[in-house]
Symmetry: C2
Subunit: 416 residues, 2 copies
């Protein structure tokens, strides 16, 4: 499919993340005292859905769903409504339609806020190269992958309250740290603060019991870029035997725009060939992963940014649909607004690794930045930006920047 043209001129280029082919969903605050509103990105503009609905330009299901600053109510309506809105928007914003610039707001003039209320947040570990790298560092190359890894999309529950939107500053956490040669831990600011480059799936329909992979795919509303900020030193001391906890609870940043499953349809691709056959319940009836290019850029305070990693969502060993199916096997109820992080996505090459832990090989090989600095882990003032997009024929379906700046730890977290 080629670039679909819009009457919004800035959408008709190969460079924008937001051509008519995309139509990603977000929530923007116009900064004029009005309530934040649901909108659709088109070129460098936002189409105001709240206004369009209240004026009858858009109508979904008979009752207002865009009078709240979140996409949860719309997600609840289900896949038919999702398809219906996409059709209406494609018509309204397409080249032949009546230009309605009074419904457009410039992206440069607004602040994006969280697009959804996150019900619960689960973080998976579905990147094989990442799991292998981390396993090699901690257990040696022979025992790199845990025995269950090729059978289970390993995941753990994260903290929904810590999910923030792109642009939110991230404060370096305190925590219990213990060096390998120390007898006891100290309570100090994290020294090994890191990013994790992930792809996030947003669950748009609920479930009560186990769901098949096909049903799981149907439940997914769309995808975001996701940075799972990680305190490696806190994690090293706390994670046995019940997994990461405070190391992952400072913040998880998502991109402001939800790219719908429909927009990513032309970019479906299969998960990799299996060296261990999956149990039948996890096998995919068709391609359910995506070909989406990803990159990570790091900019020290007042310095130029360096792209420190490039990889692709197709490196994932388990798709979000497979993750979601596994999530329901125990009968775990899923809710509208659940967020599933993929786990860090690394490729096979050294510069395709999605965390500083891997890029600097646990600090042993600091990476060089364009401005002359080096990094093993994040420094205060560093701004991290994730970018991603699926490359079409003369157009890109992108996510917009997923960014966050690291700010200094509190002087004393318990001072009052």
């Amino acid at each position: 499919m080629p670039l679909q043209k819009s009457w919004v001129e800035s959408a008709n280029t190969a460079e924008t993340d937001f051509p008519l082919n995309n139509l990603p969903y977000g929530v923007f605050d116009a900064g004029d005292g009005t309530m934040p509103r649901c909108g659709v990105a088109i070129g460098d503009m936002i189409f105001d859905l709240c206004k369009a609905e209240s004026n009858g330009l858009v109508e979904i299901g008979g009752a207002a769903v865009f009078d709240v600053p979140s996409w949860n109510n719309f997600m609840e309506l289900g896949p038919e409504a999702w398809a219906d809105l996409r059709r209406q928007l494609t018509d309204l914003l397409g080249e032949g339609a009546e230009p309605r610039s009074d419904y457009l707001v410039s992206q440069a003039d607004v602040t994006m806020i969280m697009p959804i209320t996150v019900a619960e947040y689960t973080d998976f570990y579905a990147g094989r190269h990442h799991a292998t790298n981390v396993g090699t560092m901690f257990r040696g190359a022979e025992n790199a992958l845990p025995p269950n890894w090729l059978s289970i999309p390993i995941g753990y529950n994260g903290r929904a309250s810590s999910v923030v939107v792109s642009g939110t500053e991230v404060r370096r956490p305190w925590g219990q740290l213990k060096g390998p040669d120390e007898a006891l831990p100290r309570f100090e600011p994290c020294k090994r603060f890191d990013l994790e480059l992930e792809f996030g799936a947003i669950v748009g329909q609920p479930s009560e019991g186990p769901v098949t992979v096909e049903e799981a795919d149907d439940m997914i509303f769309g995808y975001v870029l996701l940075n799972d900020w990680s305190a490696r030193d806190i994690q090293a001391w706390e994670y046995q035997p019940l997994g990461p906890f405070q190391a992952k609870a400072t913040a998880t940043t998502i991109s402001p725009w939800i790219v719908t499953k429909a927009a990513l349809e032309p970019f479906r691709t299969s998960t990799p060939e299996r060296e261990r056959e999956l149990l039948p319940y996890l096998q995919e009836p068709r391609a359910m992963n995506y070909d989406v290019n990803l990159e990570v850029a790091l900019a020290p305070e007042n310095l130029v940014e360096t792209v420190i990693a490039r990889t692709n969502v197709k490196e994932l060993y388990y798709s979000a649909a497979q993750q979601l199916t596994h999530h329901t096997t125990s009968g775990c109820p899923m809710q509208v607004g659940d967020l599933l992080g993929s786990g860090t996505i690394s490729g096979t090459e050294k510069d395709s690794r999605g965390s500083l832990l891997e890029l600097s090989w646990s600090g042993k090989e600091p990476i060089a930045l364009d401005g002359g600095e080096t990094r093993s882990f994040l420094e205060d003032g560093d701004t991290l930006t994730l970018r991603g997009g699926a490359q079409g024929d003369g157009y890109r379906v992108g996510f917009g920047d997923c960014t966050g700046k690291v700010i200094a730890a509190l002087a004393d977290p318990f001072a009052r």
Copy 2:
């Protein structure tokens, strides 16, 4: 403090869980088509708070808070409102007050539903004897406690959507199981389904950054009994390296009544002496644990129940306030309605262990039930009941039964 008397006669005995000293909060469904309503247990009755508020008998903060079937809105009002309501109820229900039986509903005539909307659910591992028992089984007596255990209230994020109220049937889950001598896992119904006897703390105030132990205690609204149903065989195969996931996602049952911190005030007790000094941020300025007797009863289908364990909340090594403080160290935002499970509470004696895993020593020593059966793990049809209460001078501050029946696994979870 002795028994405080009420005009509700059934509240004036040493046997009831619900004397005037208690006044626990729940939500009941009268089964007559009306909306479920907030109520207060008194003897064998419930005082209808929704009706009392709408008639002006109870007034908190000027606006209606009991017109919804959940205590979240009331919790948000904060500690002064909490104290205010308790004062009003003590006056209204005390011996000298005007009897208002038209505000009473019999507990026998209603169904209790979830008292709160659980925001997020965290499960700790704060019982030393439990951690020691499990560690001994899996790693030997010398390495029983993980190295971090005496320094950190270890916890992991659970799944809020799986928390259910007492009385809800619990379906045996399916999952990936792998025996120690098997090369690959099978997908089958859980064979080692278990309970965990826990004490749950309900967070009634939010936080943004780290909070002290004193502040954490102030944020806690009350406590419930909690059964963290656990699939031991699923857990054994899945939990490395990121912790328990589907093994703990089938269900967690809580008691229908929230016993307030105020009601438990006379029963405060200190956590045990430390063999390793805690880091300053975790030290408690005063007694923040509770002396609450606990028991677990198991009744096979159509057979008498057997009390299989008796223990006490005071066995916990870390109080809920300490758990909550640790939870916030990374900057993790806490929300109104967060639920913190204590982890399994076991005592030092064989019959004071809070899980079948420990009681049957991983199935090696099945326990005998009064009806002649034995149990290593739970069988279909088994009903589990947790009970708990603080023993005062001629009265008990109790929680009501926290019960759940195990029903058979689905024949085929993916059949459609």
